[in-house]
Structures are given as C-alpha cells and as structure tokens.
C-alpha cells in the first residue's frame, strides 16, 4: 500500500511537471504577448517593452520555466498580470465555489443516477425503465450551457417575472455564512452539472446490476430467504460500488470541464471561470496555476478513488 501511494504521488508529480511544461510551451510557441495586455492596447512599443522587461518576459523561455518551477516548489505560483494578486490567493478565493459545485454535482448525480439505474435494473424493459433512462438521456443530449441557461430562464427568470422567487439568479454564497442560502444558490448549478453525468451512472448501474443479479451469490442470498428488497440492495447494490468508483475516478477530469461552463453560466466565481478569464486576458501565471491545480486535483481524486476501491473490495485489500 505504501509503495502504491508513493508511486501515485510520484506520478502526480510527473503529471504536474508535464502539464506545466505543456502550458508553458503552449504559450511560448505562439507569439502571444501578455505584456501588451498589461501595458494596454494603446500603449506604445517602448512602453510595452518596459512592461515586458518588468514581467521578466524578455528572458529565455527555459530560464523562465525553471525559475517558475523553483518558485512553485516553494508554493509561490507568482502574481496575476491582470490584478497583481498572488495566484495562490486568487485560486484560494475561487476554491469554495468550485468545490461546492463539484461535490454537490457528484452527490446529485449519484443520487439521480444510481436509483434510476437500480429501478431500471429491477424492472428491465418496463415503462419505468424506459422513462428513467429517457430522462437521464436528455441530460447528456444537451450541452451544459443550454441546460444551464434553460434552468436560469425557466426556474429563475420566469417565476421572478411572475412575481415570486424560486431560485436565485446565480452567484456564490459562502457555506460558512449560511448553509441554507448556500444550498439554495448551489441547487441549480449542481443540478445542471449533475444532469450531464447522471445518465452515465444510471446506465452503468443498470448494466452492472443486471449482471450482478444473475450471479450465483445473489441466488444464494435469495435461497437464504432474504426479502427481495434486501437481496437487491444489500447484496446486489453493494457489488456495483467498486465499478462505480472506478467510473468516478475517470470522470473527475470531465467534471472540471463541465464546471467551467456551469460556472460561466451561473456567474459562480470559481476556478473554471478564473481559467476562462485568464485565458481571455493571457494571464499566464494564473492559467498555469489553474491548470496545474486542476491536474493536481484530478490525480488526487484518482488517488482517493483508488483508496476507496481498496476499501470497498476486500479481495484487493489482502
């Protein structure tokens, strides 16, 4: 186990190194000029050159990269070109929204996908099965920005025009301040994001459970005289957790992508919108910081997933 964790951590380090190299090269391959953005569109060449020098952008790429690596090892990701805040600070400010969004969405999609999948697997081919699968399929059939905008339009704007408030217009409220308001604000974004993946989980659950319900040990459970409910939930559903966990690990990366769009639509100031903003303003230190952070989280989440898997499947444990 320890060697496993060690290898995972070294892999994480490798991922981060490669990612940072990738992003760094990406922005140096192209002659994009953050200095011009900082100096202003109307600045003269001389002024731009001055800013370029101040930002250290005139130094050789390799040198910049290594000084960046050195600094980031000590936890310093540099300063935003845009508002000169430390990148770490910016990311820290943005974390709560993104974390709330992602965790909320994961919980929601599990709460939608798994029960629907179970229902479908228990009555395969039935009307309920088709309806359930159809519902979740609608979720994957639309790009998330359409879902988000529809949610805002129908659940915020129209009720508001009609004179009552169903959901807030977006924005993030701190959980620590008031968990209820937090939940109220997170409901629509989380739902939008969750709908994307709910289908995958519903189908995965359905397929796996159908398979498992045909296993010998399920017959054993029935032969014991257990109620059907217990057979399905205690013996059947328990067995789909390991594959679901694996899927979860694979979904983290796309989750962040979905969060990016969702944050945009719902005006959540999270990591995703920070990324969009930084790309739009060529705020290189922030982009690199965000990409590396995202990579770090994906690797970390996968580590957690592996660990969960380890806990969930006793066969691996020993």
């Amino acid at each position: 186990m320890i060697s496993f964790i060690a290898s995972r951590i070294s892999f994480a380090a490798l991922v981060l190194l490669l990612l940072s190299g990738f992003v760094f090269t990406l922005f140096f391959v192209a002659p994009g000029d953050p200095a011009r953005i900082v100096a202003g569109e109307r600045a003269t060449e001389a002024q731009v050159a001055m800013v370029r020098e101040n930002l250290g952008l005139d130094r050789p790429v390799i040198e910049q990269y290594f000084s960046f690596l050195g600094r980031s090892l000590s936890g310093d990701l540099g300063f935003s070109y845009r508002n000169q805040q430390p990148v770490i600070e910016l990311i820290k400010n943005r974390m709560p929204a993104t974390i709330s969004l992602c965790i909320g969405a994961v919980i929601m999609w599990l709460c939608m996908g798994i029960p629907i999948g179970i229902m479908s697997a228990r009555h395969p081919g039935s009307v309920r099965d088709r309806l359930g699968q159809g519902f979740v399929l609608v979720g994957v059939s639309f790009p998330s920005f359409v879902l988000g905008m529809a949610a805002l339009y129908f659940l915020y704007f129209l009720p508001r025009q009609a004179g009552f408030t169903l959901f807030p217009p977006g924005g993030y409220r701190s959980f620590l301040e008031n968990p209820l308001i937090w939940a109220w604000h997170m409901a629509l974004p989380c739902f939008t994001l969750a709908l994307l993946s709910a289908a995958i989980y519903a189908r995965l659950t359905r397929g796996q459970l159908l398979e498992i319900l045909g296993e010998d040990y399920i017959r054993t459970a029935r032969a014991k005289g257990l109620s059907e409910r217990k057979v399905v939930y205690k013996h059947g559903v328990r067995s789909i957790f390991p594959p679901l966990t694996t899927q979860l690990g694979a979904d983290i990366a796309s989750l962040l992508g979905g969060a990016l769009v969702t944050e945009q639509v719902f005006g959540l100031q999270g990591i995703g919108s920070l990324a969009v903003q930084s790309v739009q303003t060529q705020d290189r230190p922030v982009i690199i910081g965000v990409v590396m952070l995202a990579g770090f989280f994906i690797v970390l989440a996968n580590l957690v997933v592996d660990f969960l898997y380890f806990l969930l499947d006793p066969r691996i444990r020993s």
Binding site: F22, P143, V276
Partner: protein, 312 residues
C-alpha cells in the same frame, strides 16, 4: 443446404434481434434520415432557394435586425443574420455529424490500437501506455482546449484533434481490460501453440472478439463529440463561421440573449441535437443487446414475468 442457411446465422441472428428492437429501429431510421439530409443539404438549399450563408435582410429580418419566426418562406424561421434556420440545420447536420463520426472513428482507432497493444503485451509496455492513458485523463480537457485555441485560433481541425486526443482513453481502457482477459483465453494459447506471431494473434484472434465494445463505445462517442463541439462553440472556440454546426447555432442563440426572444433558434437545433443523441444512445443499446444474446434473453424473459421484487 441447411448448412448454407446456417452459415450466417450468428450475424443473421444479430440483425434479426436488431430489427425486433423497435426503439432501435426507429433510432436507426432517424439517423439514416439525418444522414440523407446532411448529404442532401445542397438539394435542400436548392429546393428552398436559400443557401446556408445567404442573408435575407429584407424578408428574413425586421427593420431593426430581429430574426423572423417560422413562416411560409422560412419554415424554421431565420437567425440573427436573416439566414434560413432550416437550411442551416441541414448543413449543420453535415458538420456536426462529420465531427461526431470522424472524431469517434479516430478516437476509436487510437483507443483500440493502444488498448490492444497495452493489454496484449502487458509488462512495461502496458505500464507505459497505461500511465500515458492516466496522464491524458489527468489533463483538464476544456482548460487545455481553451489554452490551445487561445494560441492556435479556432478551427475544425483543432476541435477534432482535441476531441480525439481526450476521448480515445475511454476506448483504450475498455479495450485493454477486455484484451487482458481475452489473451488469457485458451484460444489465444492455442494459436500461440501453433506458432502464431503477436500480430496474427492480435488481429486474427483478439480483434474479432472486441466487436461489441468497439461498436458500443463508438456509437456512444459520436453524440459526445457533437456536444463537445457545441460547448467549444459556446466558448467561442468552435468552427469557423459562417459554416453552421448545431452547437454553433445554439451558442449563437445563447450568446446574444436572442433565445429569450427567438425561441426557434434554440428549439430546432436543440431538438436536432437531442434526437440525434437519443438515437445514438438507443442504437448503441440495441446493438449491444443484439450482439449479446444473453442480455436479450434476460430482458425478454423478465419482460413477460411479474417483477421479481413485488411481494404483495
């Protein structure tokens, strides 16, 4: 004679089961119609007399530049530039479907190759390829896409490349897993004992057994790619206007708040997207059921019986 009939029975059975699945058949029919529309987009344009990029500033726009709703001239209405939404949808089908097909096909080919090689050879090759897949999966896709487009500018090729780059891993993992168990099967050992080389075993023995996951995952990947392109369009990273894609049309409707007024700009492309995705998913399910008779038996036996769980 009977052997002649039976020769194809496995394939035949699959087709028979496929045809017996009504939902699957409807889905297939819809996709065929869609492909016909996509291929015949020029004909549709000729029929309506509207090309996809032509702007009807007189009849297709109000004097203040608002699009007009569906009417006799424009069956699906016009967009914010006074272009025929119906014609653009047809051309959009062309682009969206090509993106879907090409991206999924490329991703499938890469995924199959990598999965096959990794699973078959195992050892350090598997370790390296497996880590490579992990690495790709650890990359925040959209973020990198954003950066890439910021650097290279949006283009169809770039969108395709990115979609492919980030979606082959799913296929790769599935194939690898399957190959890991397939290569332990005795028929592989049997081939080996007859002196078959690696390539022969991979192509002749293992590949034919991967048909089901390949078809299923490729059909699933098509709508995912189409939607991915839509998201890219929304972020301004999609294909180059005035070429229409469904996602691009939705993104245009979304970006200028025009959807609050011109519902038809969201409804029709949205519907097209929804039906296409649904069709691919249903078709994928149908193919899976047809390829795997076990699941068909299971389903059809249980369909007729009362649910196992009911106790009252």
């Amino acid at each position: 004679m009977s052997s002649e009939i039976k020769q194809r029975s496995s394939f035949e059975l699959t087709i028979r089961r496929l045809i017996a699945d009504r939902a699957g058949l409807v889905a297939l029919a819809f996709l065929v119609v869609l492909i016909v529309i996509a291929v015949g987009a020029d004909a549709i344009a000729a029929l309506t007399g509207h090309s996809s990029a032509e702007q009807f500033r007189e009849t297709g726009l109000t004097p203040t530049g608002l699009p007009v709703p569906p009417n006799a001239e424009f069956v699906f209405g016009t967009d914010q530039l006074g272009r025929d939404v119906f014609v653009r949808l047809a051309y959009g089908a062309r682009i969206s479907l090509s993106i879907g097909f090409v991206a999924s096909l490329l991703a499938a080919i890469i995924g199959i190759t990598v999965g096959l090689v990794a699973g078959y050879f195992g050892g350090w090759i598997d370790a390296v390829l497996g880590r490579a897949m992990d690495l790709v999966m650890s990359i925040p896709v959209l973020l990198c896409m954003l950066s890439l487009v910021a650097v290279f500018g949006p283009s169809l090729t770039l969108s395709l490349a990115v979609i492919v780059f980030f979606s082959w891993t799913t296929m790769g993992r599935v194939i690898r897993g399957q190959v890991l168990s397939l290569k332990e099967r005795e028929f592989v050992m049997a081939s080996r004992s007859m002196g078959a080389g690696h390539l022969s075993i991979m192509v002749m023995d293992i590949l034919p057994n991967l048909g089901a996951p390949i078809i299923i995952y490729t059909t699933m990947m098509v709508p995912i790619s189409i939607i991915f392109e839509a998201t890219l369009s929304f972020l301004g990273l999609g294909i180059v206007p005035p070429a229409p894609s469904w996602g691009g049309m939705l993104a245009e409707a979304a970006n200028n708040s025009i959807y609050m007024f011109a519902w038809w700009l969201v409804l029709f492309p949205g519907l097209a997207l929804l039906l296409t995705t649904l069709s691919f998913n249903i078709l994928g399910d149908a193919i899976r059921d047809a390829l795997d008779p076990k699941s068909t038996v299971k389903r059809s036996t249980k369909k007729k019986s009362r649910p196992i769980g009911s106790e009252s």
